[in-house]
């Protein structure tokens, strides 16, 4: 038995046989065809090209790619439509009787040869571009024919170096047990998708591939972040019990998909989803969530050298709004620390980034960028029910500035004759203690409040949540946190406004009933947590819970509060 540590992407246990998926290798059989097969091969060529062109079109529409990458994809598409390419392949198939793969590989070998033989060193270097295109094209065409998951048993755990988001979806659709990758991070798009599907997955399992053979028994412990290779009988039995229990729980939870999110004593709690990337919408719809309570827009600005245009943003927001209709989508304007945007904005190192240049502060200092985002949202609001929300609000000042900018954006859109819908609720994130203290004024200036508990705890208790050495001070049940929640909710209700919680506290079973007793109207959680939290809501008797509230609020320590829950 061997144990290898990794980073857990989603919780849950998976048990199965190891199946190593090697980096896609192209093996081209230099096959000849019969004369009577020519017609079939040519029609396959036409179909395959069409298929790949469609695939490329989809990728080009994916605005998470940089402009440069999209240009490259555009050139690949053009090669597929090239008259020279088409006539030569047709010739190779019909005159030389090459199979399709053979013809394509011959064609690109010829082309690459021409480049390699050039005497200019710079241009012969360009051959890399060319080989890359040939590789992509061939693997596209071959992938379409031989799905690498064909013949992979359901009872497998896939091991690979890295994984693409579309492959995660394939793995899920095939009911495969789980996934481990040697590289990758918890926050990659592939990981986000696996998490929203509750697919057991570990990343960053260094040394795994060198330590394992196909068919060995394997356990993924997504709760503690381990892969266990060839477990002993005792360990296997322990995990089988956990797995069985998890399956039972999941089966019961799935029954709740169509059950309304209403407490025992009849209060309807709107249960929405937090999403980080548009692809998660499938899970939002599958689990019948009441819309999106937090659509993070950071992904649009990350991993690229240029800024997303208004048009790109518009298309993404429009798409999400349309898919969620008639439910609402709450779009949060960009909320990253300045350090993560340093390649786009000119940002110098900060001594104290958490108290520095981030959230709405970046937007208000880069008004042209902020205006693009707001205009894109206003325009997309024609196609659905969008609400807009602003992060890192410390008081009414920022909100007034934001409202002024929205006003200007509306006027500019009117002047240019572009259609939009300004009938849109505005919300403020409550995550800074000063915002809690002035939440009555903030609630007066907007339509709803949404509490981001992670930052609120961090700022209220002055605890950096990523600093392991002080993690004991990070206490969601600290009386100061609970009183802050109460104050915010009471102030909002006085002004007739609703309060949502979109931070991690809403996703933890343990806190749900307390949040409801405090008066929270809406919860927003990651798609993979929707049903677990719905169960808590259905099981909750707010009236009964409220009878305990005075005692909870009188507690002096988090420990005392914990005991009462």
């Amino acid at each position: 038995m061997k144990k290898i540590k990794g980073n857990s992407v989603s919780s849950g246990v998976a048990i199965g046989k190891a199946k190593i998926i090697k980096k896609h290798e192209l093996y081209i059989e230099r096959k000849k065809i019969l004369k009577r097969e020519v017609k079939l091969e040519l029609s396959r060529f036409k179909e395959d090209v069409e298929f790949v062109v469609n695939e490329l079109d989809k990728l080009i529409q994916d605005f998470t790619y940089s402009q440069e990458n999209r240009d490259i994809l555009e050139s690949h598409k053009m090669i597929l439509k090239d008259p020279h390419f088409n006539s030569r392949i047709t010739e190779l198939i019909s005159k030389e009787l090459h199979s399709l793969e053979h013809a394509i590989s011959t064609y690109f070998t010829e082309a690459v040869d021409i480049f390699s033989n050039m005497n200019n060193s710079y241009l012969s270097h360009r051959v890399n571009d060319f080989e890359d295109i040939a590789y992509r094209l061939l693997s596209h065409i071959m992938d379409e024919r031989k799905d690498i998951l064909v013949g992979v048993d359901e009872n497998s755990i896939l091991l690979m170096e890295n994984i693409s988001p579309s492959f995660v979806t394939k793995v899920f659709d095939k009911n495969i047990q789980g996934l481990c990758t040697e590289r990758g991070s918890r926050n990659s798009h592939s990981s986000i998708i696996a998490r929203s599907m509750n697919l057991p997955m570990l990343v960053n399992t260094l040394g795994l591939l060198g330590n394992i053979k196909d068919g060995e028994d394997l356990i993924i412990d997504g709760n503690d972040g381990y892969v266990i290779i060839s477990p002993t009988k005792k360990v296997l039995e322990k995990y089988q019990a956990i797995y069985k229990e998890e399956q039972n729980v999941q089966k019961e939870l799935l029954k709740l998909i169509d059950v309304e999110s209403i407490t025992k004593d009849g209060k309807e709690i709107k249960l929405m989803s937090n999403i980080e990337i548009p692809q998660e919408i499938d899970q939002v719809i599958k689990y019948n969530s009441a819309g999106i309570g937090l659509f993070r827009t950071e992904f649009l600005f990350m991993d690229r050298e240029d800024l997303p245009t208004e048009e790109e943003q518009y298309k993404i927001y429009k798409n999400i709004a349309e898919q969620c209709k008639p439910n609402s989508v709450i779009i949060r304007t960009i909320d990253v620390g300045g350090d993560k945007l340093s390649n786009i904005l000119n940002i110098t190192h900060e001594e104290n980034p958490n108290l520095g240049y981030r959230g709405i502060r970046i937007s208000l200092q880069n008004v042209p960028i902020f205006k693009q985002q707001i205009k894109a949202i206003l325009r997309a609001n024609i196609h659905g029910n969008i609400k807009i929300m602003f992060p890192m609000i410390s008081g009414v000042d920022e909100l007034l500035k934001v409202k002024e900018i929205i006003e200007i954006c509306s006027k500019e859109l009117i002047n240019t004759g572009i259609a939009f819908n300004a009938n849109m609720e505005l919300g403020a994130m409550i995550e800074i203690p000063s915002a809690v203290i002035t939440s009555d004024s903030i609630a007066e200036e907007c339509d709803f409040l949404s509490i981001g508990t992670n930052d609120l705890i961090q700022y209220t208790l002055a605890v950096d949540r990523d600093n392991q050495s002080i993690s004991e001070y990070y206490k969601p049940l600290h009386p100061a946190v609970i009183r802050s929640l109460k104050m915010t909710i009471d102030n909002a209700h006085k002004m007739g406004k609703k309060v949502a919680v979109c931070g991690e506290m809403a996703s933890e079973k343990k806190y749900v009933k307390l949040l409801l007793a405090l008066g929270v109207d809406e919860l927003s959680v990651s798609p993979g947590r929707l049903l677990i939290i719905k169960k808590e809501i259905i099981d909750c008797d707010i009236t009964e819970m409220k009878s305990k509230l005075d005692r909870i609020l009188a507690c002096k320590t988090s420990k005392e509060i914990d005991k009462l829950l």
Binding site: I72, D82, I114, N120
Partner: protein, 88 residues
């Protein structure tokens, strides 16, 4: 038929991106379009052709267009070369 000689002024030469831009622009027109480089003549509406031209920085090319909209085609393509395909 119009012929126009131009020089490659972008540092990277005729790599995939400018090749894509040229073909994209040229295919909008009805005229035939060829590019000639010393002893080689290729179809300017074929990306494979344009790329295998392998024209490097400083080399000279002749643009040849023939058809109803030949003037406009040559004008647009020549401008793209002059503007270095937006590089730098």
């Amino acid at each position: 038929m119009i012929r126009k000689t131009i020089k490659i002024v972008n540092k990277l030469g005729m790599h995939a991106r400018p090749a894509t831009m040229i073909v994209k622009a040229a295919t909008k027109y009805r005229s035939e379009f060829k590019i000639v480089k010393s002893d080689m003549e290729i179809n300017g509406k074929s990306i494979m052709g344009v790329m295998t031209l392998a024209a490097e920085f400083g080399s000279e090319l002749e643009l040849v267009a023939d058809g109803v909209d030949e003037e406009f085609l040559i004008k647009e393509i020549a401008e793209m070369f002059a503007s270095k395909f937006g590089e730098e």
